[in-house]
């Protein structure tokens, strides 16, 4: 019904093959950004992450000593979207996601997590969710009557029963963005919200232990909004929120998920037009590398 948009790009992540048939794990770009409420540009996120990943080609993980590129993983290119139509686009993304069992998604804005979660739940039942973000993204609606946007995927997901809320952890939440109900809504929905303030008051290892304990042996989905990181480390994003994680902290937090049953991953909200030195895309490419390394360790 829709075709690949003009801004979709062709290079592959890590220089991976483009042949889905030979791979169990599929990396895909989702160049969708009309759900953004402030700075747009996340449509160019997949292209920038892939370009930045070239520095990682042929590298082993420096801590786990595994090589993600040795996984049976292919970069299948970009999903099609429906121009100017968020509802239509989410449906289209869901339909395309359904063709892939194990998907690693490069956003695009955070709206895309909803159709991706639907796909994973169809396979695994309600999943644990480890959600890195500056914002809870559980507004009922950002604009009156607008159920879908980059600020609502997780309330929708909970309403649809996609998330096992006993194992839904949010990390990095902070800042005055959004209305007074932001945090209250998230808590009411059952999320365990570890704000930046709480995080800074505890040992990193303790936080990791809590996340691991909550997720347990459930199938877990990891969604990482790059704005969980401080704008110094990730300026190129749509709604930057000061006072966030450093790059080193987010690396440790993702490494802390080692051994969990990770069934899917998305990295969202990289906006290249606001990333003049390219450091946001480089961080994002590394975080996908971290996630794939965890996957490699599990095999």
């Amino acid at each position: 019904m829709a075709t690949t948009p003009t801004f979709a790009t062709l290079p592959t992540y890590l220089g991976l093959s483009r042949s889905p048939a030979e791979a169990a794990i599929h990396v895909a770009g989702i160049p969708f950004d009309i759900g953004t409420t402030n700075r747009s540009g996340a449509r160019f996120g997949p292209a920038a992450i892939r370009q930045a990943s070239r520095m990682l080609v042929d590298g082993d993980h420096p801590h786990w000593w595994v090589d993600p590129a040795a996984l049976p993983v292919a970069d299948i290119g970009d999903f099609a979207i429906a121009l100017g139509d968020i509802a239509g686009s989410l449906a289209l993304i869901e339909r395309q996601a359904a063709e892939h069992e194990h998907l690693v998604a490069l956003g695009g804005d955070h709206s895309i997590s909803l159709p991706l979660l639907r796909n994973h739940v169809r396979q695994h039942g309600p999943v644990a969710v480890v959600h890195f973000d500056a914002h809870p993204d559980t507004w009922d609606s950002e604009y009156p009557g607008q159920k879908y946007s980059h600020g609502t995927p997780f309330i929708r997901a909970i309403e649809e029963g996609l998330i096992d809320t006993a194992a839904y952890v949010q990390l990095g939440i902070r800042g005055p963005t959004g209305g007074p109900q932001d945090y209250a809504d998230a808590l009411k929905l059952g999320a365990r919200m570890i704000t930046l303030d709480e995080f800074r008051g505890r040992a990193l290892s303790e936080v990791i232990a809590e996340v691991r304990q909550r997720v347990g042996n459930r199938p877990a989905y990891v969604t990482l909004d790059i704005d969980c990181v401080d704008p110094a480390f990730a300026p190129g994003t749509g709604t930057p929120e000061v006072g966030g994680f450093s790059s080193w902290e987010i690396l440790q937090l993702v490494r802390g998920l080692k051994g969990l049953d990770l069934v899917g991953f998305d990295l969202v909200e990289v906006s290249p037009p606001f990333d003049p030195a390219g450091i946001t895309a480089i961080l994002a490419a590394n975080l996908v590398f971290e996630f794939l390394s965890l996957t490699a360790l599990a095999r």
Copy 2:
């Protein structure tokens, strides 16, 4: 139903008053860009044009010696849009436009011309259209099944009988962007297309004379996509097309409309994230100044 988006801005064009009641002519921003197919960012266009207009405060027009700020004109701020919903947004824009008799619109992407034309036509009947653009914007659809985008407003307008096609002139068309049917579609619909190539082969005065003759004494709407200008003069736009007008040429072309019965104007597709030195916004602010000067001359 929808509220003003986060990215809407508050400064006024030319430092104009914000009180619509005291003014017959209303300048409004329409921070809408989800109809863009390539680079996004036109949502920040109104803010950038207003900021750039500050250099023009208290200036007379250097050729006509009129002062647009002396007109009964107010900057009424930005229209609301429906997030992530192009059809809903166009309806909402139309509803808001209906509250203004004489509107000068700062885009946003070119999609907004359709609801603006509907409003003008309700008042004046089918209008002549002087359309500055690199692209005819008369695709049947840019994405299968997608009737509305920044590439389709004028086919929709013609289908809806909004344009008096005997007086529809396109200027600046060029470039390979879009499919093979671009130009053919436009011509079939009745547009008089003056391509850049034709323009360069004729005297500027001759081109102006033809436009004036075609429009005659009809009520005329002027729509100016900043990409009619060469990327050297207007880099900050969504679909830059090489080989366009210079800034001097576009100034002369707009001045050439003096004396026509100009009932409305929009200036669209200024994308500040791709305008690092701000020169696109400065050119746009000047072109709005030119248009208002024509209006001042007519009173």
Copy 3:
């Protein structure tokens, strides 16, 4: 005598009303930067902070759960300055400041703190000063014979008896910028200087306790030069100094002032031309939000 400069802007901070009559607290921009000795551009600071503040509209403070926009606060626009005349400008700023009882100022360069302090002292007598900065700004003169510049406001203020030096705390001082006498001068004048080095060697809570103890129940003025923060977090400033606070640290330090008798605030030295991703303006907008939240808590 002077009028609003061309580069002054019109949007409001937090979307606040522009009607001073209805508000006890007035936010004002002071687009003055000719006191800068290195990179200029702080004249565009107020406009950038206001634009960046749009992300904060309708937000509650995530820690204190108050809404600064619910205060009786208005954004009264920008002060006029005297072009090319620092002494004249400071006089003019002082005269305009005198019309406002409770002022929150968006700079502009640090020169403006002197006339602002004069105004507050007229109301409150000598004030405690909490001064966040990379530099002590207590040079006798940066250029021979030049008493006023962005490096001298606090020596002038002390000479004029505006500061209760028993309660004058400088935080964030570091770096080799300026001459050998920088630190010595500041100490001689009575400032309690907490350098970055001292700060890193103590617990943040301990530093806050000391500041609170020194200020006590005196009326206190807070002046925040954005260069107190590291260039990674605030690149867009005139004299960036490496090795500064992180964004999280500065947020905590401002929060630590809760309950003090805060009578005035300025945030200075945001220079948008050197802030390509806009993160400096975003941090500044948040710090003003923090200060207004403290004010809201106190009512």
Copy 4:
């Protein structure tokens, strides 16, 4: 001996297939820039041109009404180079070029024209050369003893007998860059140099006629250094030279080559780090499109 460098990229020009076997014409990137004497960065040229070409996907040429993508043409990716070794790299480029009969090269700096010419001459004998450039590139050496750099390919080519100097035309030459012997050397070698000054004094059609007459029915190689265009239209290049062609003029000049026996083409010196709004890459992508359209017309 060498492998594909880190900075080589994978997207394709115009979205073309990557299968050389199915195509007679091969587009290749040559991410080589160590021959540059001023601003580096041309190594990222092929990636930027390909990314920019996405706006041209599915477009017909607006003048010739042909579709270059319908040619039997493939984008074979990037050539390998020898790091830090210009002589070794040129040899390596020559070896790779030899595997392709009909090559369209995306540079990279101008050094690459020498090995490309060698390859074409092996097939066709000495060729006519149409050379668009701000500089003659016929220095004997830019650095003492350094025979190869981006300022010397054409003197080397003439010494090696690769160019039929009776049909060697340089267009766009101007500017004080380089030493006093620049122009004299070029003329002595037999080049017909049409400086910008001469160009501006003649009709464009007349210049085209002279080029066509000189080339006649010889096999012709076209080399286009993007710095032939004015920095306003092509800022992203290594040695920008003011007072150059406009984008419209260079489009006409390339179109003027229609019907000549064009055996090869390179477009060089696009340097993305100095192209903040991307307009240089867009112009370059269009000029390759123009060249392929000429090829399509000839079949």
Copy 5:
């Protein structure tokens, strides 16, 4: 009284010697920009022009075949200014200028032309002035009571009898910037104003002939505000005005001054923070090169 400011730089134009004693002609930077009314940053102009001039080292002029570096010319570095004090700075500049007989000045904003003119007039009596600019710069005052700014040097100069108004020609004037009296004031003062509009309606050679005829054999001062050029060619300036000269045109206009008795030259208003690709500085460096070539021809 004042010392060299922090932002003053040390490289030399064209790599010239820094020894004034050995040279009759002195190039000097004047890093002064507090007279600017819109975008600041011209204080970094001299540094950027010198850096850009490195591309011109060892080059002959491509039209006149002279080498400006062969002149007895030295780059004496930057003038001191008085921080935050326009009146004091202009006095200081005048005092320093008095030490040089033949000065070529790199601005800095246009305010500096006044003290430079005073110096030349002391030597030569009232001079002819060839003034390239988008604005007449003959406002009585830009801010009430402010006699000195970058918009007033020429009214002051005329009042002081520095200019032989029978030989005062302004070229490039255009645009609505400034108030209604701009042009009228200039004309009243006796300037021959050749607006951009008039320029475009005449042959370039005719315009040059008129300038030459008016100047005759008077000693002539040339002042070139880079904003005479269109923002496409010179984005990095304080008050960009659309519709200006192309780079080729300004080169021809300066060349047209050959043979006049040129006693001084300034090039002003290059603002590097708004020049992301550096093309404004490159153009400025070339225009100084053109002027020095004229000087070389005259010897």
Copy 6:
């Protein structure tokens, strides 16, 4: 054999004299970057560091209270390099270095450490090396058969016996860049590698103590690749690696070297085209200042 390249610059570090004869310590720029494997541009590093150093002129060190400019130190300008020829360039650098007893080098890419080490070893015998870097730079070759590049200087140095491997400490190593053998190779060669991970797990003072203990009283060379710092603090570099030192940490680490017998220093890999706000150059200028302060303390 080669001459100073076009991109070499003339301002001096800290405004130092350019007269080598009067100084025992020589600061020199080495504008060489063809050994870079990813982003180029380090050739402009020396110019940017010098420009950034102007903020430090006349400053005392804020911790040691010494003034580096009071040392007998001169900035001798830039070394010549051999264009496009890494082997030739390294030889040429070595030859030039031999003329200086005590050299502080501003890179340029990391390749230059090899010839610099050779020079120091000629004077001192094998030296201890304190090596700050994100990468071990001890690959056998980055490209097949290519012995010299910015990734290989230290394996070459060890092979040549230049380094006393008992006192070779690497700090800051991290990230997946490079192949699986990176770390293993470095360890095998005898380097004591303190990865970022290890660093974060220990007290900073403990790390410093270990470095001091290993170096002991050997003559020590310090090489600082700016990419040891996180991209947030140093975006302008060729191969940015996330998760690095903060600016404060690297300052402390360099200060920790106080009292060691420091015989030479280089700071490499600053790439200005990727440093839009200039913060990388500012950090680099400060780190050179730190090193010179250590030298001043030792006298």
